[in-house]
């Protein structure tokens, strides 16, 4: 605890010092009546470039997409612009509706529901033999209402990181992981057994493995693997069992899950050696590798004698905008320019995501990536249906309340009622 508060204090004073040095004249944001509120939201909307093919993505993926786009530009002798756009999804929806959006957009598969609901993307027509080359879960994730809407290039799911000083094994059950963590806490070596973000708002994304292992589900699946918005699992008996399990791991139980661990500090707790294990995704890998701790990665095991833990699997994909100015090039780029081993290999090397194209996976030797591939294959696609938007906040609140000691059954039932009411109203 000491160490963290010291780090915080140092960060704070550095920030204060830096701010005081750099922007002594930028006052006027606290109570100054003239400046007006909402500075946070008045960012200028992105402007579409005037190339023959315009692709929007976020800053993290920019270099990888640019590499593939450059190749396509040379092959077809056209100009291609790749723009990093903040809040890509909303910006794209707005710009596309106004007719000045990009031709291709790159983003997570769970956008598809909202994008299709707004008529913002077109389905892709790929031959069955092309589709067969991709990981089954990736195709399932990018298929919506029977249509393939995105070309997946990367998949990700959360996995279990362990500090091998305290938790050296490959574990068959989550109970063993927690026991190893508890031993390290008891020995005074670490503060947290298993660092999993909860926070005051809850975190259904990171809670999903525990929730599914203990018997819960979010939406039932139709025969073809798509999610059924009418079959809500929150509030059903299985979810109540899961809630009880979460309660027993919470602050009034074994204190494995706590609201003081949130997305802001969960990874730092692990990299600073204050947590025996961490539940996080491949995005934490860079920090974990940089930290001077011995670690291992493995798919999250389920609880002993319960269901397997099924994390949310996410796919990153390319979409063709419905209102783009250069649809021919956009369709060609997505269905041919990206849909090949060479481009997918470039994307893997630059973006470092587990490839969705199975042929690319064959050449990978990196152990961590293979573990994350196993974790993603064992996951279930995050539901992309619009009803999912109604789930996050109430379910998160319920998790947070249960972890804080509220009655599991009441909280999860209440969340289920709220979600069901919201879905019915939409």
């Amino acid at each position: 605890m000491r160490r963290i508060s010291r780090t915080l204090a140092i960060t704070a004073s550095v920030a204060i010092f830096a701010a005081a040095c750099s922007s002594g004249d930028s006052g006027g944001d606290a109570t100054d009546g003239d400046t007006g509120g909402g500075d946070a939201t008045t960012e200028a909307p992105p402007v579409r470039g005037d190339e023959e093919l315009v692709i929007w993505t976020d800053a993290v993926k920019l270099d990888a997409i640019q590499a593939v786009a450059a190749k396509f530009a040379t092959d077809n002798d056209i100009t291609v612009g790749v723009q990093a756009v903040t809040d890509t999804r909303t910006a794209f929806l707005t710009a596309n509706a106004a007719g000045n959006g990009p031709d291709v957009v790159v983003g997570a598969h769970d956008w598809i529901g909202q994008l299709v609901q707004n008529g913002a993307i077109d389905p892709l027509q790929l031959s069955p033999s092309d589709i067969a080359g991709y990981a089954a879960t990736a195709v399932q994730a990018t298929t919506y209402e029977g249509q393939l809407y995105g070309l997946p290039y990367g998949v990700e799911a959360i996995a279990l990181y362990c500090n091998t000083d305290y938790a050296p094994d490959t574990y068959a059950s989550l109970d063993d992981v927690i026991a190893a963590g508890q031993a390290a806490v008891d020995a005074g070596s670490v503060e947290v057994q298993l660092s999993q973000p909860v926070g005051n708002d809850g975190d259904p994304y990171h809670m999903e493995p525990i929730y599914t292992s203990a018997g819960g589900y979010l939406f039932g699946q139709n025969a073809d693997g798509t999610y059924n918005a009418d079959d809500l699992g929150v509030g059903k008996p299985g979810s109540i069992e899961a809630a009880k399990k979460i309660g027993s791991l919470g602050e009034s139980g074994s204190n494995v899950l706590r609201r003081s661990v949130s997305g802001d500090n969960s990874i730092a707790l692990f990299t600073e050696g204050n947590a025996a294990c961490l539940i996080s995704g491949p995005w934490a890998l860079a920090d974990v590798r940089k930290a001077d701790i011995p670690y291992s990665v493995q798919p999250i095991p389920g609880f002993a004698g319960m269901n397997p833990a099924v994390p949310f699997m996410g796919a990153q994909a390319f979409y063709v905008a419905s209102n783009g100015q250069n649809k021919s090039f956009a369709q060609e780029f997505v269905t041919k320019g990206v849909n090949n081993v060479e481009a997918m290999t470039t994307l893997y090397e630059q973006a470092n995501l587990v490839p969705a194209l199975l042929a690319v996976r064959d050449g990978i030797t990196d152990e961590d990536t293979l573990k994350f591939a196993a974790a993603a294959d064992g996951g279930a696609p995050m539901p992309a249906i619009p009803a999912m938007a109604e789930v996050w906040t109430p379910l998160g609140q319920a998790y947070s309340a249960i972890v804080g000691g509220s009655d599991p059954e009441t909280s999860i039932t209440q969340a289920g009622d709220t979600i069901a009411a919201a879905i019915a109203a939409s």
Binding site: A15, Q117, N265
Partner: protein, 532 residues
């Protein structure tokens, strides 16, 4: 000293003013011509774009502004208008116009699923149902031009057979008359081949290749980039009955109203698609804001907390700022300048940084505040303590401003007034209460009002600290520290479906509320001016 100096300059105008007037007449003229020319040129430059997009209202407005500017500034008359026009124009463009637009938006159901008009929505639903026919053939595509007619030159990816496809159907081409390279036709007798860029351009909306389809037995062949695929579309729209029919199953879907929008729904209640379309719904959003029991109950609670937050923020920052300013205004205080500089630090740090740093301080287990004080309060998990945390942080953020303002106002109060009061026997506190404070209020009161209006909509303080939370599982839209503006933001852009039309209605209500409150306060501060 300063006062007398400025009075002197007023009484005696500088002697060289008259000389300058004559010599500088040409310069303003040049500036005037250049400025008016620039504005006219800008308008002229915008005109073709607006014409092509058929934005008539914009076009008229822009030329009306140019006309007004030229009319007022080119002549020597209308002196008052010369001063009023710029302000009036900015008011219209940056205040009145956004308000009107917000109001207009608030009478629609605009949001997720209703961004497109009905026609587009139907086209998207039908286009999105296209499927590959069983064993669909894939073709390499080139487009040949003969006269003004376009023809798809198709190479079957499996067999290598070459076809010419037009709106009349598919016809085999003699292998001798074409050259095929890498699975596409590169030369064909009787056709000029289009380049990829030309195909792309002609395929744009309403272009000759937009929607170009070659009918076959099982469906149609359509371009997909520079490939072509055999597709069929099971859905058909009938304009006369306003229904969509699935020709495979025979199910008919008609528009059915749900909430503020319509969906194509079958008789058994099955929704064809989640796509709806934008419509004008009159004052339904306002009716909903006041009658929906969940929203109206939230609204009252949030409104009261918004008021409390704004009042407390102004009161706490003002009293702390005033206290420090009074203390540091005393001549007996040493090192005034150093203290004043240090006290301004919170003001010098960008608000975003301090708010994010502060939100880290409040962590229950690992945060600075609980660590230093030995408390174990879950600051952001409990509605009461979250409110305390917000007021506290806003105090830290805001007191330097009040400190600055009060210091300035205190220094402007003539010392002889106080001197006279103390000669009459007034103690330090009575002196402050009867002389300093009322005089101070005269100049500071309007700033307090504006500070109140600002805090009433202080989005950053709420959103960067607690994001409006804590929430309860039963009510995910209204949090324990939500003020009206953060609540509105969540409605419009929150995690669940965006309801921009409804959020606009709340914004308009909020605008009216803030305006009324400010008007009441300004009326109240008028009483203070009687002191003078």
């Amino acid at each position: 000293m300063e006062l007398t100096a400025s009075r002197r300059t007023q009484a005696e105008p500088p002697p060289d003013e008259k000389i300058e007037q004559g010599s500088s007449k040409t310069l303003p003229m040049v500036v005037k011509i250049v400025a008016l020319g620039t504005i006219g040129g800008l308008a002229a430059a915008l005109t073709p774009a607006l014409l092509s997009q058929q934005r008539w209202a914009f076009l008229i407005a822009i030329w009306a502004i140019v006309g007004a500017l030229v009319f007022v500034y080119a002549t020597k008359r209308y002196i008052p208008a010369k001063y009023l026009l710029p302000g009036a124009l900015f008011l219209v463009v940056f205040v009145v116009y956004p308000i009107l637009m917000t109001f207009q938006l608030s009478t629609t159901n605009f949001g997720d699923g209703t961004r497109t008009d009905k026609e587009t929505t139907i086209a998207r639903i039908i286009g999105g149902s296209a499927q590959q026919v069983d064993g669909a053939r894939q073709f390499g595509l080139s487009v040949g031009q003969a006269g003004t007619d376009y023809t798809f030159l198709l190479v079957d990816a499996e067999t290598g057979d070459v076809f010419a496809g037009t709106a009349d159907g598919l016809a085999p081409l003699d292998a001798g008359s074409v050259t095929v390279e890498n699975g596409v036709v590169t030369e064909a007798e009787g056709y000029t081949l289009l380049t990829k860029s030309e195909i792309n351009t002609l395929s744009q909306r309403d272009g000759p290749l937009d929607g170009f389809a070659v009918p076959t037995e099982g469906g149609v062949i359509k371009a997909q980039g520079f490939q072509a695929v055999e597709l069929y579309t099971p859905l058909e729209y009938d304009q006369a009955t306003d229904t969509i029919t699935n020709t495979e199953t025979g199910t008919t879907y008609t528009p059915v109203q749900v909430g503020d929008r319509k969906y194509f729904t079958s008789e058994s209640g099955e929704r064809l698609s989640n796509q709806s379309w934008g419509e004008n719904i009159g004052f339904d959003n306002y009716v909903r804001a006041f009658t929906d029991p969940r929203i109206s109950s939230d609204f009252v609670g949030i409104f009261l907390w918004t008021l409390a937050f704004a009042v407390l923020s102004v009161a706490t920052t003002f009293f702390l700022g005033l206290l420090l300013a009074t203390a540091l205004n005393d001549d007996r205080m040493k090192g005034q300048k150093i203290y004043r500089s240090v006290l301004l630090l919170p003001y010098a740090i960008p608000g975003f940084i301090s708010l994010l740093v502060w939100s880290g301080f409040y962590n229950t287990e690992f945060g600075l505040i609980n660590d230093l004080t030995g408390l174990s309060i879950n600051w952001f998990g409990d509605p009461f303590w979250a409110k305390v945390a917000i007021i506290g942080t806003n105090l830290w953020m805001g007191f330097p401003y009040m400190f600055l303002v009060c210091t300035g106002a205190l220094q402007a109060i003539p010392g002889d007034l106080k001197e006279a009061a103390s000669i009459d026997g007034a103690s330090g506190f009575v002196n402050f209460r009867k002389i300093t404070f009322p005089l101070l209020l005269v100049s500071v009161a309007p700033l307090l009002v504006s500070s109140f209006a600002f805090n009433f909509n202080n989005f950053n303080a709420i959103f960067l600290l607690t994001e409006g939370g804590p929430f309860s599982p039963a009510n995910p839209t209204a949090g324990g520290t939500d003020i009206l503006i953060s609540y509105t933001y969540r409605l419009a852009f929150g995690s669940s479906a965006q309801q921009i039309g409804f959020a606009s209605a709340i914004s308009v209500i909020l605008f009216v509320l803030t305006g009324v409150l400010a008007a009441v306060q300004f009326r109240a501060t008028r009483a203070l001016e009687d002191v003078n």
